[in-house]
Symmetry: C3
């Protein structure tokens, strides 16, 4: 089996942001030497999400508004600890903590509009994403 | 390692539909020669979902109504591109883009009521689902 | 390839409960002999969830209240079968059916606050969770 593990450090300028990770993960897959396998891309924090969707600015603003509607900023029991990011934990659950992408013939095997996003909901500090490629060598 | 990758082409007659993929994926697992491993089943489109739930008609109508309530058809910023399927993108995020099922002793290893569904929210055209089985040979 | 499959039987005293599975899964990973790989942790029932979040009591009560708000107990078409747990099926979809955790140098590779939870929404009876570790031997 071939494998490769890399950690991406995300530090968004804004508290909330979406970052397209597709090319970074494509490069890691190529460097991994894996021909037939999968790549796990997972947030290592529970206040940010990893998800697949379309890279269209209007849609990304729709996703942000939707997450805010279903998991709004507000008062949460979690805030009794001094934290203020209860909504970010719920947005992680709503949009998803991780994705697993297929690797076929040494390449990310995505549909025409599938793009991989990191969704930050409590940013402006360094956070990590683990990328692990596993499979048969090329 | 053994592996097998197949692509299912889905073309639902209705714009919205649920399709039970369990038997199709079970067959692919058997043909893969994998004894101990996993099978990734992932939509290659971001307007349809892949999820596990119970194959009960009332429940499936509940799931459809619930997805419509939380991610309703309506006006979205995404529609400025000419698209009309903003809600389908959100339903993908709500119900999930993919599942990973265990393969044990050469068979799909599911609980008594676990069934695998494709959820279409913008159908009537061909869309693909990737099925990738990976693991130790039988 | 090394692999190990274990089944955890969950039987919560309350109808709804969150159970921290992190240490149990960490032990299974160590016993698996896998050095570089992944561990799939998946509910085998569709009325309970497996998800990653922070082990903080206030936050867990926020997650429970949020799931109840978005997928409330109530009357569902599914109940025509005699079942009363329609909301539990929707909570499974909302919080997630499974997670895939990275295994690096023989250990669960988690961020500082990542903890693994079983979320029961229709408990007081035995239910199973499958844990499958796969990867290169240590």
């Amino acid at each position: 089996m071939a494998s490769r593990t890399e950690y991406l450090t995300m530090r968004t300028e804004e508290p909330r942001a979406f970052v397209n990770l597709t090319e970074k993960v494509r490069d890691i897959v190529r460097r991994s030497g894996v021909g037939e396998g999968v790549v796990l891309v997972s947030s290592m924090h529970i206040t940010s999400a990893v998800f697949v969707n379309d890279n269209e600015a209007g849609l990304l603003s729709d996703i942000e508004a939707w997450a805010e509607r279903l998991a709004p900023r507000g008062d949460y029991a979690h805030h009794r600890t001094g934290e203020t990011n209860g909504d970010a934990h719920l947005k992680n659950l709503l949009l998803g903590h991780q994705v697993l992408l297929p690797v076929t013939r040494g390449e990310l095997d995505l549909g025409p509009w599938e793009q991989l996003f990191y969704g930050e909901f409590d940013g402006q500090r360094p956070k990590r994403v683990v990328v692990k490629v596993l499979g048969d060598p090329r």
